[in-house]
Symmetry: C2
């Protein structure tokens, strides 16, 4: 796989970071359709605006997803099948992408970049992220033999570190020393914010539990980084086309998951058994946040995704104080402080790169 | 009070930080006895060595003090009077300083810098730190009306922030942005490392409790920074002379504390009532760590003191695992990670100053 285009995109992104730099002109040969040299500053500002909007959207949607999950748990246990819900999420994302494309075809007509049909070359790698997520979700069932649900939430913070490491290895993007420190602080801060009286039990997780958590973190991280690589390999390709194909394979793999894990339940109780208003809202929200993730992969990167989902967690806790009368713990305030410092260090670390 | 000498000392310390700079020569008019231009590098290296040794000594002695406290609590409650013990600590420090001076007088003879007699000008400010500590210790009794002992341990971490702020205001020493961030992380990390299941109660501390904690943090911070100012005002004065006078006033104020707080108990039960081997060891250790603090004030600064006492806390916890079979919590590992990052950020922050 060639990554030259990704490196050109990197030059694009560096230009985005500094308006002063953009005054020197933006003629990059690699991506003629993305950057218009005329009015360089206003194009860069609109790109930065787009990057900010998708980041904000992802943060809010991730937070609302968590709030819906808390709400659904407090409203009572629903018996809907998680695998069918995930399948519908992929199907809905697929449908939304197709709807967006239809609108674009009406306005712009069908072009090389926005036509749905594709080559084997382009689409042969699209199944890989979906396959990785499937393996990870299957492993998720087995890890609960070694660790309980709160412990697993804590171990999931390893995803932060794995994303950073794989971002460096696979996309070959360097982070400055300060940014690496900021990453470790992000992981420590998120974990601290989640601490509760049961947290110490995670220290007794057997070795197999730790290994599985690390493997799952690597699978998640690799899937995320690989998705960014796929999307950015062809920067001029319309994001809705790329999403459509990613989600088609997502549907396929989730269908496999239903067959493997839930076949009996679905056959006996029905596909939509246990569905309620909250379930529908969760599916809708999950679909929108999935599309937001794609947008962040296209117009920002995995690092932004990791930061925005971490900040979303803090936002969820604060909103929960008002919605569910949560009490914020001292650990939460300490963790939030560390996460805020991490965000700040990451931003000042960029300038020194 | 003039601070010109302190700023010359600051130039001395900057020279210490970089051997390369010392090659350019070290003739400072302000402190001829401290810096010998001949063999500039070896003098700087020996100064850095001395700074490291006093820092290490303070860390170890602070840690051993805490271990002795834990040991004394586990061995059973002793009824010794804390005020009498503090008085003996000051008296012992005084005696040790005098012993060191006697040795120096025998070797070097009595000089302008190491003579014990002093002027009112020099010694008029020596009572101030001791007075501040007395007020703080008296307040300490009253704060327990608003917060329990573990909560108070958590609030004491505010001393870290107050020391940094007063260091900047009173000694007019600038910290770089990264170093300020490192300071906040140090405070957050220390607090995180101390978290336990009762920690959230500190969030319910009434306003008066918070105000008292802040006032005590300011008193402690001010006393520490002021002590450094006193000691560094006359950098050529022998540290044992400065210590002697500081501790004489320490003894005086602690005697006042005994009269105010413990007079009846001491008159009825005796000065040494409840003393045991552990009490004696604690007094000895406390005295040595107090002298180490003075050395750090002379050859390093309050920032180093704050960092070394924080690292000492982590060291204590680790040693307690082996001595007392403590179990380290997840919060401890997270807090230690953040403290370690703080130490590192502080050191790289220095280079950019």
């Amino acid at each position: 796989m060639e990554y030259r285009r990704i490196k050109d995109q990197d030059k694009d992104e560096d230009a985005l970071k500094d308006d002063v730099e953009s005054l020197r002109g933006n003629s990059h040969s690699g991506s003629p359709k993305n950057v218009i040299p005329l009015g360089g500053i206003s194009v860069d500002r609109s790109k930065w605006k787009r990057k900010s909007i998708v980041t904000l959207a992802l943060t809010i949607l991730t937070s609302s997803q968590a709030i819906l999950i808390v709400w659904s748990k407090r409203a009572g246990k629903y018996e809907y099948s998680v695998t069918t819900a995930n399948f519908l999420v992929e199907a809905l994302k697929c449908a939304l992408s197709l709807a967006a494309l239809t609108r674009i075809w009406r306005i712009e007509g069908v072009t090389e970049d926005n036509r749905l049909t594709t080559t084997w070359d382009e689409v042969s790698v699209y199944p890989i992220p979906a396959a990785l997520y499937l393996v990870k979700n299957l492993l998720q069932y087995y890890i609960f033999a070694y660790v309980d649900a709160p412990g697993y939430q804590i171990l999931k913070n390893l995803n932060i570190i794995s994303t950073g490491v794989l971002y460096r290895i696979i996309l070959k993007k360097k982070l400055s020393e300060i940014q690496w420190i900021a990453f470790i602080l992000l992981c420590a801060g998120c974990t601290t914010a989640q601490l509760n009286s049961n947290s110490d039990r995670v220290l007794q997780t057997p070795l197999q539990g730790w290994l599985m958590a690390i493997i799952m973190a690597l699978l998640s991280g690799f899937a995320g980084v690989y998705t960014e690589a796929i999307i950015k390999k062809r920067p001029s390709r319309n994001i809705n086309v790329q999403n459509f194909w990613l989600y088609v394979f997502g549907m396929a793999f989730n269908a496999i998951a239903i067959l493997v894990q839930d076949f009996d339940a679905v056959m006996n109780k029905g596909f939509f058994n246990g569905y309620s208003l909250i379930t529908v809202l969760m599916i809708l929200n999950h679909a929108l946040s999935g599309i937001a993730v794609s947008m962040v992969m296209k117009y920002a990167d995995n690092i932004v995704k990791v930061y925005s989902t971490s900040v979303a967690m803090l936002l969820t806790a604060v909103v929960s104080v008002f919605l569910f009368r949560f009490h914020l713990s001292l650990a939460f305030f300490l963790g939030s402080t560390v996460v805020s410092i991490s965000v700040y260090l990451h931003s000042i670390g960029k300038l020194q790169r």
